[in-house]
Amino acid sequence: MDDAATTDMTPFLERHERRTQRVFITMLCISLMASAVIFTDGLHAKGSVQALGGLWIPILSAPLVIVWLRIGPLLWARSQPKPPGGRFLMNEHDARGTARVANAGFVFVTGVGALAIAGQMGVIMSSLDTRTADWTWRAATILMGLLMINFGNAWPRFPIPRQPELRPAMQTKYKRFYGWLIVVHGLLLALAALLPRSVVISAIVTVCLSLAVLSVGGLVMYYKDLMSPRAS
């Protein structure tokens, strides 16, 4: 047993940050180029900006998703307590857990960004027949579900603070809750993509709404618990 040994995770996290930044910039550039192509093609085909209509969705949504995938984790990281001396010193379990969650997060962010770009490519190559297009977006939804399962599965391994004032029992509860929430919704999303055409859209929308409502509800409960004077 080596409980007292500490690992400095700072170099790993710095490498992870650089890797994430490089992937973010690459994906954003590709997505913006794809947006420009869709915009130009749309303008050429329809004659005016006002006539672009539904094309604004792939033009704007993919770059916005990619930007959010970068900003979201940065905002979350900012909300976390800073380690003393700026060094992330952890025991071996926490170091392993951190590496697992960071890697799963990287796979998730890259995968979702790639799906957003793939969606734009699908619009550019709109020569796909209806049947192929149908199965393409179904496959993308299944892949999205699998990415969620992979990330949600790793999430409970994220280290919790052990200081009593930070309520480790409460942190454990919410960490597990979010892990299960993401995995179950990932599974539901993947299964929803296999439903018949008449119900598939409503099923996917229901899963996404359920995830959003429960995530926000969990966050509200978390801060309510955190602010309550009751000790954990």
Partner: protein, 100 residues
Amino acid sequence: MSQVFKALADPTRRHILQLLKSGPMNAGEIAEHFAISKPTLSAHFAVLREADLVGSEKDGKHITYWLNASVLEEALLAFAGALDLNVKAGRMAPARKHSG
């Protein structure tokens, strides 16, 4: 993964994991729930640590343990608990009470 199955096969270890679901506990607090000797309990902790299902940290005289299981491993824990598995020597048998 075989280490995870080995760890989850024992009802005492499953009970420890169930206790840790409510938050980190020190070895003494966990021991209060079992009528088994400290060396036996330490052996159970060693198996759980080896499978990476629990994390531990020494703080002075106390060792604090916390749940370090992924969602899939928690699901396996629930599944093994529901079936009351007690796999020993490569065969399945009904689980005994938590006597170590």
